[in-house]
Symmetry: C2
Subunit: 362 residues, 2 copies
């Protein structure tokens, strides 16, 4: 038994030529509406699916966008993907997603697989560990548009979308200073990622411009809940005075820091104020106090990355025979905004708690 229905099967059923069927399926003007209707009816009945592998071999197009992200458990990346799909589906593209689990080898395998299956473009957010970039070059060497988002790669000339990481960090630290913090720590991400270097720079500049002393011992690498807990534990146990504010590289770090502070008997926000960088609104509003955070437009980031891919595809298709260098790589920067909740402001924390106690004792 045959496993795939082909154009020949449809032609046979209607007693017309395969090329007529092919043109009818493509809505070619030379074919009568009556024939087109008959062909489409039989195609549906026989459950015909065009063989896109054979097609893409001929026209070197698969109508597929490959997306490579570190981890799908991060709400942030799931939102970016929804933004990508929003634009992609409207433009007639489907989206396949690969996850690297922060593993460079898997990033390379995924990208090699996407190249081999002839995707029309790759949208990528690198792993924390990526320090060698030949797999990205491989994409570009084949004239396949490559767009970075969020965790971009300065070493490769490619269009990219980021948020105002520097500005968001600057404003978060400025906000902590306005709340009276003088000894502010930064729980930072790995130095390999541009976004974490930008956030670190925002921290430095905000501290300097307020003439606050920067204690390098308070700049600690901690980018998940567990490492944040450990960093707090070490700070409490050390001989040095505790920080009175912490700017965290993401919300998970902020949650971990707050839980550990609480368990060690330190009040947030009275004794230590905390601001995170948004990755998941589903939990920043569940804690007591709720967590202040730098909002970033994830859905919009996905939309913009996909629009950049479509632009780049148009440019490359005008010159299919040569590899085009990206002119001057475009970097689109999306706006961030500090959202103040109870973890960085005592009055807001009291309001959050008063509202709750009032409601519970009505």
């Amino acid at each position: 038994m045959k496993t795939q229905v082909t154009i020949k099967d449809i032609a046979k059923a209607l007693n017309i030529s395969p090329s007529t069927v092919s043109r009818a399926l493509k809505d070619h003007p030379d074919i009568s509406q009556k024939t087109k209707d008959a062909v489409n009816k039989i195609a549906a009945e026989l459950d015909y699916h065009p063989n896109t592998i054979a097609q893409s071999l001929r026209k070197s197009r698969s109508n597929t966008i490959g997306v490579v992200v570190p981890e799908l458990v991060h709400h942030f990346f799931a939102s970016v993907i929804s933004g990508i799909e929003d634009i992609a589906y409207k433009a007639g593209y489907r989206v396949v997603i690969c996850q690297t689990n922060e593993d460079v080898t898997r990033e390379k395998i995924n990208i090699s697989a996407l190249i081999s299956s002839r995707v029309d473009g790759v949208l990528c957010s690198m792993t924390k560990e990526t320090k060698e970039y030949s797999h990205f070059k491989s994409i570009q060497n084949r004239n396949i548009p490559l767009i970075f988002f969020d965790r971009i790669c300065n070493e490769i000339k490619a269009d990219s979308v980021v948020v105002q990481d520097y500005e968001g960090a600057y404003e978060a630290v400025e906000h902590l200073i306005e709340q009276g913090c003088k000894r502010i720590a930064h729980f930072k991400g790995p130095d390999s990622l541009l976004i974490t270097r930008q956030r670190l720079n925002g921290y430095y500049d905000a501290m300097r411009e307020s003439h606050l002393q920067i204690d390098e011992d308070l700049i600690i690498q901690a980018d998940d809940r567990e490492s944040a807990r450990k960093a707090i534990y070490d700070l409490v146990k050390s001989e040095e005075p505790m920080p009175d504010g912490i700017f965290c590289v993401n919300d998970n770090v902020a949650v971990g820091a707050m839980m550990q502070l609480r368990e060690m008997g330190i009040n947030v926000p009275r004794e230590v104020k905390i601001v995170g960088f948004e990755d998941d609104t589903t939990f920043t509003r569940l804690t007591d106090p709720q967590i202040s955070s730098v909002f970033q437009p994830a859905f919009e980031m996905g939309q913009r990355a996909t629009e950049m891919f479509l632009d780049e595809l148009k440019r490359k298709e005008a010159h299919p025979e040569k590899i085009l260098e990206p002119k001057t790589p475009r970097i689109e920067v999306l706006k961030t905004k500090v959202v103040v909740r109870g973890s960085s402001n005592e009055q807001v924390a009291q309001q959050e708690r008063a509202r709750r106690n009032y409601l519970e004792n009505v």
Copy 2:
């Protein structure tokens, strides 16, 4: 300039025949180790990627598993995917993921796309809206293994993996009864999903076996935070007495219900006790009180589904020429377990709170 390096390029560089290169790349015993080493070296230098489209056209294999899930923002599905990848990568398969956003049309498009790109298998969790199943039949008609997980399809003969939805629900309601609840509501999912029907049945049977009266007005469809909030609002505003326990179809519903109860001045767990069904441990432990929930092994579900695919592939490859009916579809059922936290037990809630207050006032 050429965009893809081929076997011919390698052959030319080494001045040997393309078929020698091809066999060297496949580690064929007729080719000397010296030649193999030379070929592999040049292949790496030229950045050669095998053209899997052409290959899969020849051998009808792509070494790719397609995964179709409703929504990646659910932590549960992200964990299942990690389990799938765990087994798939070890077996030499790569994984591409498509998301349906609970939209049947997108489910059909994604599946059609996966069929067209010749995936070796499809692992699927249906949308809430799927009530017509021809796209699943399309997969099976092509002899492509189809495995369902979590949201399975009783109307299609296919292997599948679920958790003990009935038993988990039964135990959750039994737990509420043990806590003294007599008037227990169920916030249920859509009737189209087998898992929500199973959880409803568990609720019914636990109520019946304890000889508690079932009030059909307390069985309310609410499967996200917002609909849970509305259901609570309606219950509080109605003339009828409030329920003293609620078994929620998932944790998001439990969070929505608890937040709304609190805002309307009703104490959880004193006045109303709540149990959810696990989808995201990142937030059930952040609330005050923490949320009791039925644990389900998501990672293991992904592993088992992938192992079932590998078994099914073996069986089908033994008979490539015919479409095999699944013998008797296997349904693997994974164990669930009620995890008691403060939302369903006053003593535990007091412990959670006492621990916090003590720590904050040290």
